[in-house]
Symmetry: D2
Subunit: 333 residues, 4 copies
């Protein structure tokens, strides 16, 4: 989880949230941004392509491809829905990998970012633990690997506080040694919105850009640095207390309806100031008291386990042709 | 954890919060309520005695004794502070048990309420796991038990959703069979306030009164029902998202200062309506969207472990005369 | 796990092991014991009915019905095999419950014996955690329970060392209060044989008879005491080091073939003394040095998790008519 | 854990076991091997220096320094003893590091080998989790690091089966990038003897030499490869079933006393054949049936946690001058 406490702003880790903020609610096309939305069975798929610098400026995200799955009911624990999400996620991953020009047999290194011992930050390591790993067979007995499998390795590099080494340094070292042709990094994110927590999966080909908060030593896991495509899979698992408050004030405005005068009466200036200013105020209120905690739903253990399982299952099916939705359970723990 | 979703109101599980709300900020004495506050080394101890029905009405809590430890810096992970809290908690527990007239050798049944598998609700089971249990020695070889130990047994009864049986039914059955002379029940609570989460320990002799939300079959773990004193130890480990929002609006009022007109300008009616009405509004805003999540700090794994250790260590020292602050580590896992 | 260290003998917890020892290798029928063996797809099912006292004497087991599943390859982690075992276990449980005359809608209390925190002893609690529990719905809204479900409750009572209360006392208290019509207790066992560890499931209607080692206070979970049928599901998860040695010496005899003189030459008296005497010798050798450890395979975490899942899945399908092999995944975590 | 199933022989991972086997019970000095034994308070310290090739041949270990702590009662859970072991381990580590010529401020990389999810193999990752890590402070704000601390980083590289990458490849990559001056690797070992399991800690400056079983790609974590000293800390946490049997037969010989004729009568040729031949026989007996399991004591969860804590505490005190036995608890989780 990459929480940059010093530099927090309305910036969000989710492209669809940036898109909403850019659109300010109106869903007009943004120049330089291709957008495609599909909905099936309670799963909303948004594919964004931020094509040029103008689009990037407009939407506040770097150029690249973004696919987001939103599944508002994912926290309800319906195993049928989980299977469907896993299936669709696998399909989207396959398309995504093809679309960004990675060959079907490219060697993949999966990186599970985060901390085993902090439940809302354990998504990456949990996914890695459930992947079907094959690189050792390709290394030791390449002739005997069945067709339909590609070379997959994985690492859970830990976090700076427990290793003393930046995750990106560790990944770079290993990538230099093992020469994968694609990196897929999984990370837990902070969300702007309570409802997105543990209900949203974002895939992007922009890699991981850690905050610049603690100096330029931190370099990230990106194509620019490593020379190979880096796909980031992110799931919001936490949010700031200030985010909840600010988010609720925004929702209160909607709740109160279109009569501006009435809203003004009830909410005063909170109705009219910009979201940025309002968040500033909320943070001022909360921070001096040490209140701007990062929080997670109380059912976090179960939610993280479920999503880790969805992502591992989906990746196993997406990465190995021989693994299909019907037999994937046999490959995923 | 006893979360009564249907019947939620401004009601809080913490007596000091009720006292603050009753006092509306002014710390005048409340008739029928004795109060004693002490502060040492970053630990604030509040002893409340709600002596009569008038006091109970005024403060909104049933008659009884309440001791609260507030340790604002407990989440910072300072092991020296944790040791001090453990020591003071042991001393307060000893005094409390004596004060409510329980004999020094009374047989104790400790009840760890909550769910192993839901981290913010696992406090009770975790404490039980670290207690020094002696009943089996008293039963099987009473002559050989060293002086300085009393008969202690413990149970973690699980939660309704995984057992199908009310915790209080389980505790009643076992108490009828094993005939303890004192019950001490440990439970995770919901707080009105983010800052109280995992920084506050409340001890009360009023037992556990589960909400009446799901029918009169639920009876509670109380002296009235069991005929023996029931001490409840509670630690807030979660709060509602709506609580965070409402709490922040209250803090915003303080933050904006004493100029009512200015506050009114910024916050509109949110400044003037009652806390109860405001909460109602916040809940209206959040609930239709399924937003009124219960949240916990992201570091919940570590926080719960630390507090469980403090409480288990303190109970071991308080319940067995032979266990002292100096040797307690040898008894507590 | 019920390990009676004082009273250990060649006695085993598995009826098929008793049967083998009684038969001394020859599979002739034993008077008073009905036997039926079936094998399918790598799963061997043995149904024993010890019908009278003579049979019980002969085989060294109390009268009752015993069904054993032996799955030698269960430790290999094949999820297809696990699914088949789960399915067959469900079918056998249904037949077993019917056969012992329990009505299809009888209220069931499932008891998960053992200790959460000792992996090879955590089978019972793990199964309980994954059951579909319904009693609360029958209690609170009996009109709204769909057909096809029966009333199931469950408890993991802990172990004497951490509660100070015998598991059987806890179960008795709860059974008196909640009045189930059938008890199903799950327990980890000690095996005489390494190969049986985590590859064998035994179902018996004789309840749980804890050793008499620590006094007559320990009474067991049996029909005699509780007045209702008590089914015990047992899985060997550990064995004594002395068992391994003795077992190997027995295997060495077979390995060395039929030439007694040769066996005598190689193994000396170890070839000719009775198994009981030999075990006595092995224990003498190991015990003074504190060597008679109880051991478990190093992959115990995975093995226990897999078997707990098989049993929970099977029980969910066996106990609720509406749960079938096809939809059981949706009901079992 | 490095278990080389194909190539198993009487070879053991513990130098003191090699020494015993070389000495065949007689404790005469071995040329080329310096030996120093000390005993205090139930802790036996053996310091071996295998000085030349002749000594290495004789004892069957590579040249280097070996320190072994044997604490037969460590499994009894006495926290006072654990503290003493931790203290002595810290002192021995400090001496060892000095003795092999590493400067007091040398940058250290600690490597926790093994698998998080396999309890008897989780020692390395558990130790790493409890270390005091400082490299990030030296990197980001070198001026502000208090005196008395050195630069320590750590990594738990996972195991080949879950990463697809040899641990040694991962460590080499990271060492090349971060340039430590000393590597300390912690690993769980297989023992020749049940009594050594979880009661023995070995420190050696020979690094980690993984078996050559799966090809020459596996290179090890050694001074030859990395150009810096590599200390290995090993604890036996498992043994083979065949080891238990063979070990017991050896003990049976001692148990039966000095009368060879009597031993011969009871044990036949098992008394006279060489240990190597006997083990071969035992393995023949066990292996065809898939019996040569690797086992661990049933209390493995607790034993591993205790030893991990001892080692982490000891390393924190040994590596940072500012951390002393009195304040170490504040630094070790």
């Amino acid at each position: 989880m990459d929480l940059d406490l010093q530099n927090y702003s309305v910036r969000t880790d989710l492209a669809i949230e940036s898109r909403e903020m850019a659109g300010r609610g109106q869903q007009q096309p943004i120049p330089g941004v291709q957008e495609d939305v599909e909905e099936q069975d309670g799963i909303r798929i948004t594919r964004l392509n931020v094509m040029d610098e103008a689009g990037a400026q407009q939407i506040g995200r770097v150029q690249g491809n973004y696919v987001t799955l939103e599944i508002p009911k994912l926290r309800e624990g319906d195993s049928g829905l989980q299977d469907r999400v896993s299936y669709i996620f696998a399909k989207e991953m396959e398309d995504f990998i093809r679309k960004i020009g990675v060959s079907p047999n490219a060697k993949v290194l999966v990186v599970g970012l985060g901390n085993w011992n902090v439940t809302p930050d354990s998504l990456g390591p949990l996914v890695v633990e459930n992947l079907m790993i094959t690189r050792q067979y390709f290394e030791l007995m390449p002739d005997q690997v069945n067709p339909g499998y590609r070379e997959v390795s994985a690492i859970a590099p830990g976090v700076l506080g427990t290793t003393g080494i930046e995750s990106s340094e560790i990944v770079q070292s290993i990538a230099e040694k093992t020469r994968p042709e694609l990196i897929i990094a999984i990370d837990a994110l902070a969300s702007r919105s309570l409802e997105r927590i543990n209900t949203t999966i974002q895939v992007a080909d922009i890699g991981i850009h850690p905050g610049s908060g603690i100096g330029n030593k931190r370099r990230g896991i990106t194509k620019e640095i490593l020379g190979i495509p880096c796909i980031a899979i992110g799931v919001p698992t936490v949010c700031y207390a200030s985010t909840i408050v600010n988010d609720s004030l925004e929702m209160m405005k909607s709740h109160l309806g279109k009569d501006t005068a009435q809203r003004e009466a009830i909410m005063g200036m909170l109705n009219s100031i910009s979201e940025q200013e309002r968040l500033q105020l909320v943070k001022e209120v909360l921070q001096p008291l040490g209140h701007d905690l990062i929080v997670t739903p109380k059912e976090v253990d179960k939610f993280i386990e479920d999503i880790a399982n969805i992502i591992a299952t989906g990746l196993n099916a997406a990465l190995h042709e021989a693994v299909t939705p019907d037999n994937v359970a046999a490959y995923t723990h």
